[in-house]
Amino acid sequence: MSQEQLLQISSTSLFLGFWVYAICLLFYVAHVIVPEAQPAHLEVGRGGTIALGGGAPEPMLNRTRLGLTATGVAYLGYVLMSLGLGMRWAAQGYWPVANAFEAPLAFSWMIVTVYLIAEVRMRTRIVGWATFLIVLGLTGYSLFAFGSGSQVIDPLKPALQSNWLRLHVGAAMVTYAFFALGGALSMTYLARTGAWRKPQTYSLAIWPVAIVVGILFGIYIGRWPGTNNAMSLAKVAAIVAESVILLVLAVVGRLVLARRIALQAGAGYNPIPTGPDADLLEQLDEWSYRAIAIGVPLIAFVLMSGAIWAQMAWSTFWSWDPKEIWALITFIYYALYVHVRVQRGWRGAPMAALGVIGFAIVLISFLGLAYIVGTFQIFSLHTFGNVQ
């Protein structure tokens, strides 16, 4: 089979797979929306007559059938995507993870792989809607923003011709897939509890954002007198101003955070969800943590393998490249997540919010970086080449 034929089959399978995923998402949404059918029960009537009652006639598309159909369609889409990526691999001779067209597709493929295994282990399909929302977004971004890339093969750059490509990028895909599953479970938690509508769920995020903005502000003040190394009165004043801003932010952040932590972990906070969904919510909370806990050593491995590869290819294990920085940010963030969970005993909605924010960081690290680099005119060795 010629390279063009392989690419044609790959492209058709990928686009078809996208639309199958779209149908799959509809079924998963329906599975969550449609109420559980009331089971029939025995009613004792007047005069001691016993009748079968209460249960409405079972509709054709009940919740269980919708869920089973969704899973079936998901497997079909998965097979199509696997075929599409496999054919592309065969056509170009290396893993399809090397540019802006291939990487999101490979990432979404890995998310579906992890999800389908998790679905069997969790014995529930209520997370499918969130997972396939993410998957559809990623595949749609790749196929419609870089659609022409499906017919083009980028030559593999010398630095990428290494076994470390498979090890480092493969590990990154698995890691981010687990974080995506953690994010999907957290989204489901927030949706089922209604916590996503409450601003206090996200209030924790205000302070880190304020600190980031404050630091940027401080840095720009610091830059204003000039970026040369010569000291001047203006520069000293700027550094002092910068330090004061940081100090104030640190003190305010510390006070507010300590209060918040005390509130969340104190007697007034009940980490165990209550109500009819309590067991399910507790399981969602637990699974979300487990998915993320699997990802944490993996992101450490991604950083380590990347450092070894960079040392071999670029002669330095760390160069403060934006991609390296955002991988570090992801690691620090999830290290924080694990610490507040294990050491502070956080549970429930705040952890779910942290899980969603974490996945947002993963998305920035994986896809958004290309836009940050472009917008802020930052040099990066890691940005995937935009296919023509």
Binding site: P155, I211, I215, I219, A307, I332, F379
Partner: protein, 489 residues
């Protein structure tokens, strides 16, 4: 401890140490570093590194985090070691009744038989079991992955080791980027007191059809003792550096490549193609008393290969020399392409006779405009490609194109320690997060006034509490079945 801290002054060492040991402080440090790292990522890389990542306050925060980690580890060290290796088996009876995961069972089975049945059941669940018999009662301690608890200490201490190694490497190591080596040219000293010279014997590169590089083959030679010692040879590529002297020696990495154009003058009547002696034109012609024939010292310009065998000049520049024997001045003028104005790249070669008397102007003998720069083998040397040569009498002016390899040469003795620390961090995280430790305590005592026994079972897990609850229910059922079943054995 708390009292002593309260009694101390606001900035006493005890109070500071106590603050450093708190988890809240560690979380705040992590959060602060996270925010700063995010902020720095929005700045241009050089500004971000200079203004944020290499600033005194970022170093200070990292230092505080390291102190926080060390103080947290010191606080937990004894507890974790005790948990892992010296956990007490015997507790007071109230201990077994407390906690979220605890249950009680009474049975007609005597203590001895009940304890042996329970121990078997716990072992079959994958638990390591210790038993002590005290005052007619049996105390059982069962645990899984207890040593994995040490992973917390390993991962945190390894982070400190990693940072220390990085700091050591920053002081003890060096990295020279983009050292230029001319293929087949002279050896260049590596410097830094190594006494080593580095030479590129030949440099080949493959290109994809679109002109982007596919691979490199840089045949390098290291000469010891400032050029007077042994020679060592190695071929390097982008992902295949040369670790000269092992992991603690010197790393030579293929970094970049280039093609340099040089203008040469040769005598066509001579059999050999030696370069005619010349002087660089920036010297006053009258001072050209010792002309050189060193081809590698000629002024050169970088060219960008286009992938189809042709080359594009990079930037606009002029190189020139003077031939004293022939009294000729030769200039090579490159002009980069201007796509907006549809102007192609050009290479202009001018041969002129310098003014002989004051007031006389330069006499241009020949001017050639090469567009595009052509490629051909020069004098049977396949690595040399020339434009159309210009002949002035017996003097042939030609354009030579040389290959340039750019290598990074570095020495960082801390690198093995840095990667070993990373490995230990990974090991610690895997042991803690993939092997969740759990512990069960069982107390079996004689039933008051009867022949049976009472079993009190308590469990504890630091992570995955909900999963452990389910597991605890399964284990307690299994213990119950084993103890009750032991009646019939």
């Amino acid at each position: 401890m708390l009292d002593s801290v309260r009694g101390a002054g606001f900035l006493s060492i005890g109070r500071i140490w106590h603050g450093l040991r708190s988890m809240t402080f560690a979380i705040i440090m992590l959060l602060a570093i996270l925010c700063i790292v995010i902020a720095g990522s929005f700045l241009p890389q050089d500004s971000g590194i200079r203004l944020v990542y290499e600033s005194w306050w970022f170093y200070s925060l990292n230092g505080l985090l390291m102190l926080s980690i060390l103080s947290c580890v010191s606080r937990r060290f004894r507890g974790v070691v005790r948990f892992s290796f010296h956990a007490p088996v015997v507790h007071r009876p109230e201990f077994y009744r407390s906690g979220d995961t605890a249950c009680a069972l009474s049975t007609q089975v005597p203590v001895e038989r009940a304890s042996s049945a329970a121990v078997s059941a716990l072992r079959s669940c994958g638990y390591r079991v210790e038993v002590m018999h005290v005052d007619g009662g049996a105390y059982v301690l069962a645990d899984r992955f207890r040593v994995m608890r040490m992973g917390t200490l390993v991962s945190h201490l390894s982070i400190v080791l990693l940072v220390v190694s990085i700091i050591w490497g920053a002081f003890a190591g060096w990295l020279d980027k983009s050292v230029q080596l001319e293929a087949g040219g002279a050896a260049v000293p590596i410097g830094h007191g190594t006494g080593l010279l580095l030479r590129s014997d030949s440099f080949n590169f493959g290109l994809y059809p679109d002109g982007t590089p596919r691979n490199f083959q840089d045949h390098l030679t290291v000469i010891e003792n400032n050029g007077g010692g042994r020679e060592h040879h190695q071929v390097i590529d982008v992902n295949e550096p040369w670790y000269y002297g092992g992991v603690f020696g010197y790393d030579i990495h293929q970094a970049d490549y280039g093609v340099a154009a040089r203008l040469i003058a040769v005598d066509t009547t001579q059999a050999s193609s030696g370069v005619l002696p010349y002087c660089a034109l920036q010297l006053a012609i009258q001072q050209c008393t010792s002309p050189t024939a060193d081809i590698t010292a000629l002024p050169s310009l970088l060219l960008q290969p286009l992938g189809d065998g042709s080359y594009q000049p990079v930037g606009s520049d002029v190189s020139a020399f003077y031939l004293p024997a022939q009294d000729l001045a030769v200039t090579l003028d490159f002009h980069d392409a201007v796509p907006e104005d549809n102007l192609p790249a050009t290479a202009v070669v001018t041969v002129a006779k310098p003014p002989q008397t004051q007031g006389q102007s330069m006499q241009v003998l020949r001017e050639a405009l090469d567009d595009p720069i052509t490629t051909r083998v020069f004098d049977g040397r396949p690595e040399m490609i020339t434009s159309q040569p210009i002949d002035i009498g017996h003097v042939r002016i030609a354009l030579l194109i040389w290959r340039e390899a750019f290598v990074n040469i570095g020495h960082n003795p801390a690198v093995p320690f840095i990667f070993a620390s990373c490995g230990l961090v990974l090991l610690g995280l895997v042991s803690v997060l993939y092997f969740p430790f759990s512990r069960l305590w069982l107390y079996i005592s004689s039933m008051e006034g009867g022949a049976g026994s009472v079993l009190l079972l308590r469990g504890s897990a630091e992570k995955s509490k909900q999963g452990f609850k389910r597991r605890f229910a399964q284990i307690s059922r299994k213990v119950q079945q084993a103890v009750v079943g032991s009646v019939w054995q």
